[in-house]
Symmetry: C2
Subunit: 679 residues, 2 copies
């Protein structure tokens, strides 16, 4: 997970004999795309075609559907440019430049400042840098915190918000094997979809796009991955990891388990309810399995023992040179205790786990927007800073249709969680419930709010824009019940946020000290933890062994059909009708059956890398990352290339499927030539 | 939920004009059957045929299946007596007599005893009474604690352990609508199955059995329910209810939610895994929905306000007469705090939520059996008392086949729960995990233990009998790894149990005082809380209103087909093949389509009543209880006949289904005449 601004060129050359240059890197960087919904992708034609995972695009695909069009289940293929469907709230970013602004950020924070003052000063200087950059370049500008506070870089990106769906296979083949096969290998998934980026109503002319590899990957090939790993905890101290193991992850899992049963229960009510909820359900299942894997790693005594050993050395060195000053490790531990002490209330209120409804999130955003707008950008809660305003409004005014029965179900469950976590007689709980049971209260709130676009025809208007534009006067005059609830908890919620921000600042300063000490000893030897910014990974295409059984590096279409048969095509191992037909017609086509479908490699990836292009040494696309195996989940806390594998859709498999299953000849021509066919 | 020894005859006559006599009651009592697996049923022929719910029999039906025979999914119909299939570990009881032994039990407990001494003395006298009764009558003898300790009754029951499966429909029609429709009405479920009880290799000649009603039920009919409601908390104090609301139920739900995702995840791995796990999954889903309902009731401020009001009055009266003695309400609150303080550790260790595997339960039972056997029966942990020995051994040596992959999955998850709940560095956790991650440790334990019958051929022998019979010497010489884990936690586990038993004793004494005060004022006005012993309930067949929509008292087969169509036959709303055929052939048979399938009544029931016969004033079967509606779940804490409904399979629907869908003519003749046909 190397920074594009500090790629390990010598290491790569030494290990794999491949020499990369600046032009190669810039081409890959400028072809890479970040999805605001939490994933990666790449331009694959000069006409703005973007390739990513089906599960990265699924949220947008879902929102384009309705009760009579289940685009997730049925798939989608635009018959022409006019048929390409604009997404409701998808934003894509392409990283244009990076700049080290550490000195300016650190200079704004004086040594004698208290943690909350230091936090405010740091937030202010970051907002100032971002605002200046936006004004100067027109580019989306974000100051990114690296090495837990060891460095600050300014990332500038081109932003696209007119993104249209071009092609998606049926979810059944994109996610063949479902939750059971998720984070496993061998796999057989066509986990791809294609969008096209528009500007001013026309397909964007991408300066850079990746060419399709002529030769498929094979075991032993070196491959490179360019994408946006979301979050890792490799530089966390042992105290932070113990908190993660004993507190944070168990709480995450408690919340995810209950969401899975509640959303699963709603989906079980019938086919239309399933369509409404399936996308949320997939997300929850995926999060549950990922966190279980990280937790399993942290509960392996060997993993934490290794961390303890390394830390003991670093700490001894560092503390020997402190000359009576308090150890940064002790400061991190204390800040972590502060965070742990408020974790449950923070999660319920500020992270809104007690108010799980789109309507509530909208109510809070409107309430806070009008309050924050009155302040200088640098003093605002960070997500309301001026440079983020366009993106925030784009999300806030999403055309996503909301389903009241689903919103009520989620809200009732989360109000129950709020009540049982704080106690049924807690003052705030009593106020929030207003004399009703959680189920009654949720039904009343959802039925009464006017802060969203309802899927079904409704007599309730959508007052989002009116309140947001109306400012404080309009908001305080509003009698919207969801806005009232957001207001009711906002004081306590902001108070918790301030405590958390000050504790995070404490940790940041302490981490910066540890990192400076490490830099002095090792130089820039290891990349920073993942931050959902562009990174370069590399590895070798290779098989492995799972529970004593060896598996190959590359799976095939023949393998897909065999697995479906072995599972008697019982869901989630059933094939979509189109694929059953293909199976029959191509039963003896050994070239097709032997074509690579998915492959594994040792590249270092994590959630957020989904949809990342996998390229060969020539920089040509050979696949698209869509998953890691179960042993890769520990990569969150520790690097491992023995058992961890990144899992990708094979570019050769994409070509074969588009040609022989979907007969998508025009699209295929654009992919293979990098140009849209003239028509 | 009235005691058969104190039926409310005058109330019934006054309210419904029906006069019941002792013979009527005895006939119903002696026809009623308790299922050890947690349900009710009734003899319906003189040849030992027992009718119950499919979901009550499902555990036994499941255990009779294997990878090539999915009896739950496919259903079962014995072609002849020889074809009836003996269950692995099902015990049925028929209540023969009841005797009030309160005076003797209370006399054994002296006023000056500490709680733990009092507990031991009470346990000893109960075991003594049971042992004497068993010796004198040969009947299963249990001293039952009523009114939370206000009274003690000796229940004697005939015990049957040769129980054979005769008929079961497909689970898809028994549980049509699945978790979505569970605890809802209208319903359309053939939730029945039939067993036959054998003694000495021949069908038992039942002295009593219920006759089939000639006339179907209709709205307005008075009906009676004889069954075994499992547990209610209506006499709990407000302090106990608050603990239930804020601690016990949230913990239950946390555990159930994680079990649902873990077992659901295992079931999703393929059709065979689904077959292995589906029964456990149903149980967990049902428990989750039931507890959510109770919690919803307790979180309704109106419910607890009413409880508070009643308690305030009772408490004022009682405390005025205490003359300086500590209030029993205060003692209950303190004991509840003690229980709350150890609740998590108790649940993990003594209730074994940290060791969720049949292998562990067997290991503990063997370990404790050989230790407890050395003590006098009255000094043993209660489940090891001499009078329970036969039943305990019957369970311990069950022929149930175990699936190692499934046991490993459950154990790995529960070890993770243990570790995260106590903390990964907790001394006991470190010992239990033995240097491995929970997943590795679970795999090692399951692979290494020899305490069960494996489904797959295995080189591991089954040493349950050898160790149990071998006594302390054999058990301490054994190197079975699961036995070692059971041994490792047993000291702490027993310590927690002692604390809990003493606190429960405290509560019992305090409740007895409250009850005596209530008896003095009201007499035996209200029945005791449910205790999984035989009770009589009654009510009226009637419809109601759900979320503003009225529903009828009785649903029909026509309604079933309409609902399946409305849900596009998507699971869980799909029909088994046999029912699809019936739908086609009977499409114009209005007599069939209009036949009653399920019905609702105001009878006061709760979990454990499943399978209870519903009879008319003449004592003839008109239905079989199988569920309550969502508003009935609050019956756990407060009686309500406005919105709560008991839901039953209509006897007329059973006849129509057996005749027109299953062509089960011989079985039908036995049901309708009460005699097995001569052949």
């Amino acid at each position: 997970m190397w920074l594009f601004s500090a790629p390990p060129l010598a290491r790569i050359e030494q290990a794999h004999g491949v020499r990369l240059d600046a032009a190669w890197l810039e081409h890959l960087q400028r072809s890479s795309v970040r999805f605001s919904s939490g994933g990666s992708g790449a331009f694959v034609s000069s006409d703005g075609l973007v390739l990513t995972n089906h599960h990265v695009g699924a949220d947008s695909i879902h929102k384009l559907g309705d009760a009579s069009h289940d685009l997730l289940a049925e798939g989608f293929s635009a018959a022409s440019r006019d048929d390409e469907r604009k997404c409701h709230d998808l934003e894509l970013n392409v990283l244009v430049s990076m700049e080290d602004v550490t000195a300016r950020v650190q200079a704004a924070v004086a040594a004698e400042m208290a943690a909350d003052e230091a936090f405010a000063a740091r937030r202010a200087v970051m907002a100032e840098i971002e605002k200046e950059s936006l004004a100067a370049t027109g580019l989306r500008s974000d100051v990114v915190t690296l090495w837990q506070g060891g460095a600050y870089h300014l990332y500038r990106a081109k932003k696209y918000t007119d993104v249209r769906l071009v092609f998606a296979p049926e979810q059944q083949i994109a996610f063949f094997g479902g939750d059971a096969d998720n984070f496993e290998f061998p796999r057989y998934n066509l986990d791809i979809c294609l969008f096209r980026v528009y500007e001013d109503g026309r397909p964007v002319k991408a300066d850079h796009h990746l060419a399709w590899a002529a030769r498929p990957v094979a075991a032993g090939d070196v491959v490179f991955v360019s994408g946006h790993p979301g979050h890792t905890d490799r530089d966390a101290t042992v105290a932070e990891l113990v908190s993660l193991r004993d507190r944070r992850l168990p709480l995450d899992l408690q919340i995810l388990n209950r969401l899975e049963t509640v959303i699963g229960g709603y989906a079980g009510r019938g086919p239309e309810e399933r369509r409404q909820a399936v996308q949320d359900l997939r997300g929850v299942e995926n999060g549950r399995k990922a966190r279980s894997g990280v937790l399993g790693g942290l509960l392996d005594p060997a993993v934490l023992a290794a961390k303890r050993e390394t830390e003991t050395q670093v700490r001894r060195d560092l503390e020997a040179r402190l000359a009576g000053k308090e150890s940064p490790f002790v400061r991190i531990e204390r800040a972590q205790q502060t965070l742990d002490g408020i974790a449950m209330r923070y999660r319920l209120l500020e992270a809104a786990a007690g108010f799980n409804s789109e309507y509530f999130r909208t109510a809070r955003t409107i309430l806070r927007s009008v309050e924050e707008r009155a302040k200088p950008s640098g003093d605002r809660l960070r997500e309301y800073r001026e440079s983020n305003r366009e993106s925030l409004e784009y999300q806030l005014f999403s055309d996503e249709p909301l389903y009241d029965a689903f919103e009520t179900t989620k809200l009732a469950d989360s109000l129950t969680f709020l009540a049982t976590s704080l106690g049924g007689d807690d003052e705030l709980v009593v106020k929030v419930l207003g004399g009703m049971s959680p189920a009654e209260r949720a039904a009343t709130l959802v039925a009464g709010t006017e802060l969203g676009r309802r899927a079904a025809p409704s007599s309730r208007p959508d007052r989002r824009r009116e309140l947001y534009d109306g400012g404080p006067a309009a908001v305080s005059a509003s009698s919207d019940p969801m806005l009232a609830v957001a207001r009711l908890v906002d004081g306590e919620s902001r108070r918790l946020r301030s405590i958390a921000e000050a504790a995070d600042e404490e940790k940041k300063q302490a981490h910066a000290e540890i990192v400076r000490s490490r830099f002095a000893r090792e130089g820039l030897a290891m990349p920073p933890d993942a931050t959902f910014t562009l990174r370069l990974a590399y590895g070798v295409v290779t098989g492995g062994t799972q529970s004593g059984t060896p598996y190959p590096a590359v799976t095939t279409f023949g393998g897909l059909f065999a697995r479906a048969a072995d599972k008697r095509e019982t869901p989630p191992f059933d094939l979509p009708p189109r694929w059953r037909e293909a199976q029959a017609t191509l039963a003896t086509d050994t070239a097709f059956l032997d074509t690579g479908f998915n492959f594994a490699s040792t590249a270092d990836i994590i959630g957020g890398n989904s949809g990342s292009p996998v390229v060969n040494a020539a920089g040509e696309i050979v696949g698209v990352i869509f998953d890691g195996n179960i042993d890769s989940l520990v990569l969150d806390v520790a690097y491992d290339d023995r058992r961890a594998r990144a899992v990708a859709v094979d570019a050769a498999g994409i070509v074969a499927a588009l040609k022989q299953v979907y007969a998508a000849d025009t699209l295929l021509e654009e992919l293979l030539t990098g140009d849209a066919p003239r028509r």
